[in-house]
Structure formats: structure tokens, C-alpha cells
Amino acid sequence: MSAMPTAEATAIDAMLAAAGLTTSAEERERLLEMYALFRPGVEALYAMPEARYEAPALVFQAEPKLTAWGA
């Protein structure tokens, strides 16, 4: 673990704390690595011009079309 936390490490610590997760030091390091790896790809999602005015692939219905499984 670096003595001086980076902005990313600080952000991750905050997000893990907000989520209520208690990780080991090794797990925290792995999550830091993962975050550094995937964050540029996630930022690239916002940079897609085709997505600028696209609606998300989410469907909300006022009347739920659902009978509970096992009911």
C-alpha cells in the first residue's frame, strides 16, 4: 500500500466504505488495480457520440406484468 494515497485510492476507499464492504489489504489492492483498468473503458462509454441521445435498454411499466414465482 502506498504511503500517500492517490486520488483513485481515496475514491475507492470512500466507495467501499459507503457500500459497507470490509476488504483485506490484498483485496483492496486488487480492486484498485481493477478500477485503474476498467475506468478508462467506462469513461469511453460517455464519449460515444451514438449514445448521446439514445434511450437506455431499460423498460419500466406502470402496470407490473409479473406473477411472483412460487405464488
Binding site: 467501499l16 457500500a19 462509454l45 460515444m48 449514445a51
Partner: protein, 473 residues
């Protein structure tokens, strides 16, 4: 020893020709499980007595002229994230409440039972259908029948290994990022991820609600079609499930036309040429494309739209949806989860709500672009993975991330199109390689026709791993 057909289709024919009985089939499968399961780790729960009772009933029904279709009397395994009334569901985890699904059948299990299938037991998965095995947890480690030092793929690990080793003739898996297709590829079986919503998910422990697909693994494309016919169709208990019309595999495949009218797009750009690729992968893929061309298909080069962004969108969606499901348990029982599950699913805490919604916008963009591409094509082919199954040692030494860079599956979960995978050759080490065929939504029939034609020209799907042959010696 009774000679058991390799495929579900041939076994169904043999049952009707009275060459063997369902009890013969199930008895043989129980013997194979006795011989191999301790080594392969296929089953979490065997249901030998239940299977024999069901087989006797199937034999009596068939003798009385009651025919429930091609699965009637056929031994089938079910991944242990689907509920089944005869036993608990674990999801290969210490976390899942044993009362979950107690005494109930998932819709797919209901349908298998109605089709007369003989369910032989519940099968190993990676914990909650994600991650890797954890030696510190009290569950069997699944092994690849082609080389037991290697991973069979996941998360439908027991289904892939069990079909390949001949412990049942077909099985049910689920696919959120590749979990039907990767074990099928690594174990040398066929596998079908149906269109999202074609098969209802109710009664299946979720991983990614908007990504989960239930589907079959079996030896042949035709066998997969028979399985799909039994489990497809809408149900009000699953809000995502859509009818998509009836699906009759035999009607699709019997007397099917050659592939002369089929337009196939070959995708190399995003899949081949990477540094991790096995030397045998590209030649096997090119030979497979040549087979399809030889069958009359018109082949053109294509590039899948928005590939990298869509793969990222799949990952964001999967871990966010999974983390929503697991957050409370992760807060209170962190170390009861497998080590790999903790970091994979726990990474869902590192995305924002906006990230999740943006991923859904990108999925829609990819769907639209892909729909336009399928206006000019019937099928897109790629490798399923560009290596054979990795060894457990490799996974330990190099990490799972390296392996993730060699699989070609998550894109299709994000867009929801149906995908069939079929064996297409072997690496120099004798590990199976696999061809992936994708089509427009609800065009499973096109995929099965192409798969059936390919398998009429090749016999990779009929090869048996050494451990299975040794058990018969």
C-alpha cells in the same frame, strides 16, 4: 455393458425402437458417475433414486404409447442455480439461504419434467455463476475431462464437464458473460445461448437480471434444439420472458435446406491476432469457415459494431446488477464468499448509477447497429475463445484477467442475440477449440440449421475425452 448412444437424438430414437430403456440409460449414467465424479467434480447433488423412479415411469409411458417428445426418458443434468423441488439449491455457495426455492421448481425444471426428462442431479457451478473455484470452500472442484489439471470453464462447469464425460446426455446451463459457451468450448460440447427472454428465468438464482440466459449444453446442435423446444416460451412469472413463437427443433431441422441461401459474416478483427492466441486457434477457425463455405454459404468479412464499448457495458451491467443482489450479504458475510466472487461482485461498488445507465444506453446503440448488420447477414461467426482450457496452475499464476482476454463471449450477452457454439478442432495439447455462431434475435432456427450442417461435415462434437473412454474400458 449396454451400448449407449452418444447423442440425445440417437438415444431418443433407440428408446422408441426398444433398443434400450430409460432405466438402461440411467443405470449406465449412474455407473459412469460412480467411476468418474469423484475426479471430475460434476455433481453437487446426485439424485440416483429419483432418476431411476422417473426412468421407470418414462419406460412405462413410452410402452403405453404416451410420448412426451425427444427428452422423454433422457438423462439430463441441471446447474445448481435452478430450483428443483427434490433437493436444496446452493448456487455452490455458503451464502444462499437453504430455504430459497425449497420444494419448488424453476420454470425450466417444470418444463423439463413435463417433457419427461430424467433429471440426474444438480451440477457444479462457480459461486453464484461467477468467478473461480475456491479451495477453502466445501464444494467439489470441477475438472476438465480432456485434462483434469485444467479448468472446465465456467460458470456452467459441471454441465460442460458432465456432457463431455458422458455422465448425462444434455444439461442446463446459464450464460451472463459466456457461462454456457465457455464450458461448452473448453469441454468440446455444443451449447446454445437462446435469445434473451426466449427462456424464462424465474426460479433461477440471478447474476445479472438483464443479462441472464438459461440454455442447453449437449453433444450436437440438434440436441440443443430439442432441449430448447422443451424450455422455450413466455411465462407471466418472468417479466423479461417473451413468447417469440413456438420452437420445434425437428420441424426446423428435418429436411433442412443446404446452406446455399445463408449469408455468413466472418469476424476476425476483434478476435484474432492477439498475443495470447493459441497457434491452433486461427487455422481451426479458418477451416471451420471453409466448411461452411463448402456447404454453400456466402461468406463475407464483417466487423462487429462497438465491440470494446459493448464488452465494457456488459461488465458494468453484470457487476452492478450482481452487487445489488449481494450487497447486504457482502456486508455481513464477506469471507463466506469465494475469494474471486468477493472481488468480481464487490467491484460493483465502484460504479455509479450514471455508469450503469450509460452502459444501458450503449447496449441500445450496439443493438441498433447490430440489427442493421443483420439486415444483410444471417449469421456472424467468430471463435468462442482463442485458446483451449487454461490449467488451474495458469489461472493461479497469471490470474483470471489474462484468461478473460481470450474469450469472445460477453458482447452477445449485452445485446441479447442467440448464439450457438460447436466444437471446431483441438490445440496441439489436445484441448477442444470452438466456433461461435450468432444470429438476429429469435433466429435460433438459423443457428441450429448451420450447426447441424457443420456437424454433418465434421466429427469434433463426437470426440470423447480420454477419461470417459478409460471409464468404459
Amino acid at each position: 455393458m449396454t451400448e449407449i448412444p452418444l447423442t440425445l437424438t440417437d438415444a431418443a430414437r433407440a428408446l422408441r425402437d426398444r433398443e434400450l430403456s430409460s432405466v438402461d440409460l440411467v443405470t449406465e449414467m449412474i455407473g459412469r458417475a460412480d467411476a468418474l465424479d469423484a475426479e471430475l467434480g460434476v455433481y453437487l447433488a446426485r439424485m440416483d433414486e429419483y432418476a431411476l423412479v422417473t426412468a421407470r415411469r418414462a419406460d412405462a409411458e413410452l410402452a403405453a404409447g404416451i410420448d412426451r417428445g425427444p427428452l422423454h426418458g433422457i438423462p439430463i443434468g441441471v446447474k445448481d442455480i435452478l430450483a428443483m423441488a427434490e433437493g436444496p439449491t446452493t448456487a455452490n455457495s455458503l451464502i444462499l439461504d437453504p430455504a430459497w426455492g425449497e420444494g419448488r421448481d424453476a420454470i425450466v425444471v417444470e418444463r423439463l419434467k413435463a417433457a419427461g426428462a430424467v433429471i440426474t442431479g444438480k451440477l457444479t457451478t462457480m459461486e453464484f455463476a461467477i468467478g473461480l473455484h475456491d479451495l477453502e470452500k466445501p464444494f467439489p472442484r470441477p475438472r476438465n475431462p480432456w485434462d483434469t489439471e485444467r479448468w472446465p470453464g465456467g460458470s456452467s462447469s459441471g454441465t460442460g464437464a458432465g456432457v463431455a464425460a458422458g455422465l448425462f446426455l444434455a444439461g442446463i446451463g446459464t450464460d451472463t458473460g459466456g457461462s454456457i459457451r465457455i464450458p461448452a468450448a473448453y469441454c468440446g460440447t455444443s451449447g446454445l445461448m437462446p435469445t434473451f427472454g426466449r427462456v424464462p428465468n424465474a426460479g433461477c438464482v440471478p447474476l445479472g437480471y438483464s443479462l441472464d440466459h438459461i440454455g442447453p449444453l449437449a453433444r450436437s446442435a440438434r440436441d440443443c434444439g430439442s432441449m430448447l423446444a422443451a424450455i422455450a416460451g413466455g411465462d407471466p412469472r418472468d417479466p423479461y420472458a417473451v413468447d417469440g413463437g413456438p420452437f420445434a427443433a425437428a420441424a426446423v431441422l428435418d429436411g433442412a435446406a443446404p446452406l446455399t441461401a445463408l449469408r455468413i459474416g466472418v469476424e476476425r478483427a476483434n478476435h484474432l491476432g492477439g498475443e495470447l492466441e493459441d497457434p491452433a486457434a486461427a487455422p481451426a477457425f479458418e477451416r471451420a469457415v471453409a466448411v461452411l463455405k463448402g456447404l454453400g454459404a456466402a461468406v463475407t468479412e464483417v466487423e462487429i459494431p462497438h465491440y470494446a464499448e459493448t464488452v465494457t457495458a456488459q461488465m458494468v451491467t453484470m457487476v452492478c446488477e450482481a452487487f445489488a443482489y449481494h450487497r447486504c450479504d457482502m456486508q455481513s458475510r464477506w469471507t463466506d464468499y469465494y475469494a474471486a466472487t468477493r472481488t468480481f461482485v464487490g467491484s460493483g461498488a465502484l460504479f455509479s448509477g450514471a455508469d450503469y445507465v450509460q452502459a444501458q444506453r450503449v447496449r441500445r446503440v450496439a443493438q441498433r447497429a447490430l440489427a442493421a448488420l443483420f439486415g444483410d447477414l444471417d449469421v456472424i461467426v467468430t471463435p468462442t475463445a482463442v485458446t483451449g482450457a487454461p490449467s488451474y496452475q495458469e489461472l493461479e499464476d497469471r490470474g483470471v484477467r489474462r484468461m478473460m482476454g481470450t474469450i469472445c463471449t460477453p458482447y452477445w450477452d449485452a445485446v441479447g442475440n442467440p448464439v450457438l457454439v460447436v466444437p471446431m478442432g483441438f490445440t496441439a495439447e489436445g484441448m477442444p477449440l470452438s466456433l461461435q455462431l450468432a444470429a438476429a434475435p429469435f433466429a435460433e432456427a438459423t443457428l441450429l440449421r448451420a450447426g447441424e450442417a457443420f456437424q454433418a461435415e465434421t466429427d469434433f462434437h463426437l470426440q470423447r475425452p480420454p477419461v470417459a473412454l478409460a471409464s468404459l474400458a
